[in-house]
Structures are given as structure tokens and as C-alpha cells.
């Protein structure tokens, strides 16, 4: 979707790999959301997805190594907002992710991040960049006015 001036939008931010930047990226998303007319009811959920992806990139992808980078792209085109979060890790096979709703996982304190991303975005896929970086791409349909979870 084009912004108010008729342009597609692409914002790229590269930060050192540290949790202190998660709030910054959340704030930027708030501005981008207004420009691309993300339905307000979805903003918190998309922000939650972004935060989960960035925290994963810092803690798991880059293993808390402050010398590494996290890069976030927010791009709107064709009625979709796509957010890609890149880290310098090796990635992981998605099949190791288990359903946190299963009885044996319900009382575990972690393991819900990717699950929430999948609930609150309209598409999430893992990427391997040509430069070897690992990425998570999240797609949001800007025409969906309701929070996704309400249709579950």
C-alpha cells in the first residue's frame, strides 16, 4: 500500500545486537503503521510479533553477541506490510518448534514467541539470505481490519 503521498514505503534499520534497541524498533513500527494505515486494532499484535522476532534474533540468532548486527526491514507494497528481521546466526529447523499449547508444554516459561508471531501475522517464514544471514519474514495484510485472533 502506498503511503499518504502515493509512495510505497521501505524502512531499513540496522542496530547492534542488543535488547536495548527493541523499544526503538517498536517505536519506528508505530510511525510506519500510521503511514501505511495498518488497522489500529492490529498494531499492538504486530508490534508484539516484531518484538518477539527481534528478541529471538538477539538472544538466539546472535547469541547475545553485541558485535553482531540485527537488521529490520519494514516494507509496504501491494496492500501488505512485510517485516523482515535478520540476524547473523545459522537459523534452526522450524520442526524443532513445538506447540506451546500442548499439555506437556503449557507450564514451560518459554517457547511461545514464534507461536505468537504465527498467530498475529498473516504469514511467517524463515529465510536464508544470499549473504548467509538468517531471517524471519512476517507478512501483514493491511486490508484485514480485525485482529487475527478474533477469527480463531
Amino acid at each position: 500500500m502506498a503511503d499518504a503521498h502515493g509512495n510505497d514505503l521501505k524502512v531499513t534499520i540496522k542496530v547492534r545486537s542488543h535488547l536495548r534497541y527493541t523499544d526503538l524498533l517498536h517505536t519506528v513500527l508505530g510511525q510506519v503503521a500510521r503511514l501505511v494505515a495498518l488497522p489500529p486494532a492490529r498494531l499492538d499484535w504486530v508490534a508484539l510479533s516484531l518484538r518477539e522476532a527481534v528478541n529471538n534474533a538477539v538472544l538466539h540468532g546472535n547469541r547475545n553477541d553485541f558485535t553482531k548486527w540485527v537488521e529490520v526491514e519494514m516494507e509496504s507494497a501491494g496492500g501488505f506490510l512485510t517485516i523482515r528481521v535478520w540476524d547473523e546466526g545459522q537459523g534452526f529447523p522450524p520442526e524443532i518448534l513445538s506447540d506451546p499449547r500442548r499439555p506437556e508444554n503449557l507450564f514451560k516459561p518459554n517457547g511461545r514467541g514464534i507461536f505468537l508471531i504465527r498467530q498475529f501475522t498473516d504469514g511467517a517464514e524463515f529465510l536464508k539470505g544470499p549473504d548467509g544471514r538468517f531471517g524471519l519474514s512476517m507478512t501483514i495484510d493491511l486490508h484485514k481490519g480485525e485482529t487475527k485472533e478474533e477469527s480463531l
Binding site: L19, R20, T22, D23, D44, A47, L48, R51, E52, N55, P100, R101, L106, F107, K108, P109, N110, R112, G113, F115, L116, Q119, T147, E149, L152
Partner: protein, 114 residues
């Protein structure tokens, strides 16, 4: 950023939380506050989430950890004043089946006497 207030109501320790409970902000504070209540021998703990504007998977995980830690201390932990968003989060993750939660503090406090 998270603020908190602790008070006692009819023998129940009420922990009122305000702000965000996310990775690196509020998560450790909440854990420490509940640990502190348990170390003081509190057996009935009510966490008031009415002022919590944002919670991520780490915040959810801390709530679950608090619940199990309370159980290990023979204490019970319940929730009150869930915002719609937090209720949605608990429902989606099926944690709504784990926690006992109430709409009002007096109703929640009374539930400990049953």
C-alpha cells in the same frame, strides 16, 4: 517500564502491576516481587494486571513461572483485572486454562476463602 504496588486485602497479598512486562523490562521485577511475597510466607497472592498495557511471551512466561513457583511453596496465585489484550493472549496460548482469573479484586479476594 513497569510500576508496582503491593497491599494486603483480607489476608490476600495483592500485587498491582502497571506498564509493560516484556523481555528486559518488568519481567525480572515481577519475578522478584512474587519471590519476595513467597519468602515472606504469603500463601494467597493476587496479581492485578489491570494497568498492564503490553505483555510479550517473556511476560507470559514469567506469569507461568510465578504460578508454578507459588505452587511449590504451597501458595496459590490468581489473576484479576485482565485487559482484553491480556485475556486474548492467555486464551490463544491456552494459559487461560491454567490460571484462575477474576474481573474484580473483591471477587478474587473472596475466592481464596472458598
Amino acid at each position: 517500564m513497569m510500576n508496582h504496588r503491593t497491599y494486603e486485602k483480607d489476608g490476600v497479598a495483592v500485587l498491582e502491576l502497571k506498564g509493560s512486562i516484556t523481555m528486559g523490562s518488568g519481567d525480572v521485577t515481577m519475578r522478584d516481587l512474587i519471590k519476595d511475597l513467597l519468602q515472606k510466607g504469603k500463601k494467597q497472592i493476587l496479581v492485578d494486571l489491570g494497568g498492564v498495557s503490553f505483555m510479550d511471551s517473556t511476560g507470559l512466561g514469567e506469569l507461568v513461572a510465578a504460578f508454578t513457583t507459588a505452587r511449590h511453596h504451597d501458595a496459590s496465585l490468581k489473576l484479576v483485572n485482565l485487559t482484553k489484550k491480556i485475556h486474548d493472549l492467555l486464551s490463544i496460548t491456552q494459559l487461560a486454562t491454567v490460571f484462575e482469573y477474576y474481573e474484580r479484586v473483591d471477587e478474587a479476594v473472596a475466592s481464596f476463602r472458598k
